[in-house]
Amino acid sequence: MGFDLVPILLRGLDITVRLTLTSAAVALVIAMIAGLGRLSPLRPVRFLAGLYVEVFRGTSVLVQMFWFFFALPLFGVTLSPFVAGVTALSLNIGAYGAEIVRGSILSVPKGQLEASVALNMTPALRMRRVILPQALVLMMPPFGNLLIELLKATALVSLITIPDITFRGVTLQQTTGRTTEIFLWLLVLYFAIAYPMTLGVRWIERRASAFRKA
């Protein structure tokens, strides 16, 4: 069954996991900033956040990654493959995340905002103590799904020469020619990481909807 191939593929796993976690952390920060930015009372802020979201959702990660890796150096900025990969992945996923942040905040019932106005809270206090805690619960399941999308998207970094598990698989295929085993293992490895995540998301979803009914 080609078990001898697994250790070689697993050497790429470290990069896949690191890429996923790093990009997820950066994307989370970006998503919060851009998502709140889209709801800002200031027009220019709303516009900039909207422009960012539309540009990065309007094109694919692959195009963005190639642009950061191949085109940016010609403007005088050279990014290492890893940085180019993280930049493209987190900006792309961050744009989708921003829409989740925005949508979740908007779907907190209007009465919550009104009650906090009636209690004379400052706008910052309303957001921090009343709206965000409830919105965060709504954000969790879609963020979980996005994390799975991110994991799958990391496979694209193999195309800009980062030796993640997909890259290892492709080079191994070229050197050994043991096509079937290599690709089956590759699929199994991705599935082995992603499926527990899917189950986790479902668990969170159940918990979150129990909370919403509350």
């Binding site: 309007g58 694919s60 190639f66 010609l74």
Partner: protein, 223 residues
């Protein structure tokens, strides 16, 4: 020398390569349309199998989970390298379209499932009480009610799939991205082709997204 490095947008070059890129855009669109049609069929099949008895529901459920949990890129490699190894010889375009169809078919099966589930159980009960045949119930009562609310979701996935077609470049389909790569490698100039690719995608996907949003709003109102 330094000037060349810090900023280099060659408008003339960009204009020269634009027609070639636009021609490649047609391939991209073709791949999207054919891939999506395939995904619609595969998705419906998955959805129906999952509603069926356990012997079909469980394997179909597993395949859907598997397709959704693994990267499209790896799936494309599998089709591209494995099929010939078993004697199935397809050109890159066909292989790519099958890959798109399978991957997004898995996603669309969820859309079908949600759409079918959204039809009120009272409709099933009413249909049963009127003693209609099973096929008749599906064709004239359930699907006509289930389909309209699915349209915006289909629209969204159509756009998502369109944006993911650059992945086909990894298996040598000369769609938009591959064409840009070729131009870049030949001229050592990546800024213009890659930027133009980004702009072309944006120019097509953004208006489509607005259209889908309007569809969504319309269906939301009609509910």
């Amino acid at each position: 020398m330094f000037d060349f490095i810090t900023f280099s947008w060659d408008g003339e070059f960009a204009l020269r390569i634009l027609p070639q890129l636009l021609r490649a855009t047609l391939i991209t669109i073709q791949a999207t349309v054919v891939g999506f049609a395939l995904a619609m069929v595969i998705g419906l099949v998955f959805a129906l199998l999952r509603r069926g008895p356990r012997v079909t529901a469980w394997p179909a459920g597993f395949v859907v989970e598997f397709l959704r949990s693994t990267p499209l890129l790896v799936q494309l490699y599998v089709l591209f390298f494995l099929l010939p190894a078993y004697g199935v010889r397809l050109d890159a375009f066909t292989t790519g379209v099958i890959g798109l169809g399978l991957h997004y078919g898995a996603y669309l099966s969820e859309v079908y499932r949600a759409g079918i589930a959204s039809v009120d159980t009272g409709q099933w009960e009413a249909a049963t009480s009127l003693n209609f045949g099973r096929l008749h119930v599906w064709r004239t009562i359930i699907l006509p009610q289930a389909m309209p609310p699915m349209v915006p979701a289909f629209g969204n996935y159509f756009i998502v799939m369109f944006k993911e077609t650059p992945l086909l470049s990894a298996i040598t389909v000369t769609e938009l991205m591959q064409t840009a790569k070729i131009i870049g490698a030949r001229s050592f100039n990546y800024v213009e082709p890659y930027t133009l690719v980004g702009l072309i995608f944006l120019a097509l996907s953004y208006p489509s997204a607005l259209l889908v949003n309007r569809l969504e709003a319309r269906f939301a109102r009609n509910r």
